[in-house]
């Protein structure tokens, strides 16, 4: 049983690190602010969700094995961190994009820009 849980932890960590790495590659490859934000803010959120899930599985596994409540605390706090990360990341990404567009940083390779046309 502990072997399986260890394996699950490693797989989740691997997926998380893979997506975080892809986010960094996207940051280097993409041309302007908006496309870079697609890569960094969101691929890394997905990656961080999986690394947090790895911590949760690890904590729950130790809690079931040892019945020591500090591991339950670890898992719950990792879960809270994951939820907060997902919420705040979406809001901050929106705030960044809006601020950039308001200060005149338009998407440079772009086929259309309805927000600039709408003139809000």
């Amino acid at each position: 049983m502990p072997g399986i849980l260890d394996l699950v932890t490693y797989v989740l960590l691997g997926i998380g690190i893979l997506f975080n790495a892809l986010g960094i590659i996207g940051l280097l490859r993409f041309p302007d602010l908006y496309t870079r934000m697609h890569a960094t803010t969101k691929a890394t959120t997905f990656g961080s969700i999986f690394t947090s899930l790895a911590v949760i599985v690890y904590g729950l596994g130790l809690f079931i094995g040892n019945n020591d409540s500090q591991y339950l605390t670890l898992a719950i706090h990792a879960f809270l961190a994951m939820a907060m990360l997902a919420f705040t990341n979406a809001v901050s990404a929106h705030a960044l994009a809006r601020a950039a567009h308001k200060s005149g940083q338009f998407p440079t390779p772009a086929v259309c820009d309805r927000l600039a046309e709408a003139k809000l």
Binding site: F19, L22, G23, I25, G26, R29, F30, D32, Y34, T35, M37, H38, A39, K42, A43, T45, F46, S69, Q70, L72, T73, I76, H77, L80, A86, F87, N89, A90, V91, A93, H94, A97, R98, H101, P107, P109, A110, V111, C112, D113, R114, L115, A116, A118, L120
Partner: protein
């Protein structure tokens, strides 16, 4: 009075979640329970005017809450995975065709638009840049528009999600019941 009770209850719940595993009444110790209750009442008294500012208690309906609890881990997570794989493909190949489009949300309430905008932002490949406050339209930066799609004046919000109809879920969770479709 009702906002005070709701805020107190949520504050107490948050305290219980943060201190789970400290003792043996359930998972909590006596000190934590008493301290949590006192702090929750203080928090509720101080912040009662912030959480329920609109005096609209439709989210107390348990059916909406259960739908929200199902929505986040199942349909939303499936869309999140699909979109992340798509962006991973674009990162590797570099094939992008970005543009800002106008999307009709057809939602009325602040909470509904908040949920739709956040769902759109969290699924990679689409990013909410702005909101038209009058018509409740969203402006979405899309990383890969299809050929010829830039000529369309409007998009429907369902077109952004290819697998599951997330706007219908959001409408069931957050919108008023008696509204014309």
């Amino acid at each position: 009075m009702i906002p005070f009770l709701i805020t107190t209850f949520l504050a107490f719940l948050g305290y219980l979640i943060l201190t789970a595993g400290t003792g043996n009444i359930g998972l909590w110790s006596v000190t934590e329970l008493i301290m949590g209750a006192i702090l929750a009442v203080v928090t509720g008294a101080l912040t009662r005017n912030f959480l329920c500012r609109s005096r609209d208690y439709r989210m107390l309906n348990p059916a909406r809450f259960l739908r929200l609890l199902v929505y986040v881990p199942v349909p939303f997570f499936i869309e999140l995975t699909r979109a992340n794989l798509d962006v991973a493909y674009r990162v590797i190949t570099g094939r992008i065709r970005p543009g800002i489009i106008r999307v009709r949300s057809n939602l009325r309430t602040d909470l509904g638009i908040f949920m739709l905008a956040n769902s759109i932002t969290l699924t990679p490949g689409t990013l909410t840049v702005g909101i038209d406050e009058k018509t409740h339209d969203l402006f979405i930066h899309n990383i890969n528009l299809g050929e010829g799609e830039e000529k369309k004046e409007y998009f429907e919000s369902t077109e952004l999600f290819s697998l599951i109809n997330l706007p219908a879920w959001i409408r069931k969770i957050a919108e008023h019941d008696k509204e014309a479709p």
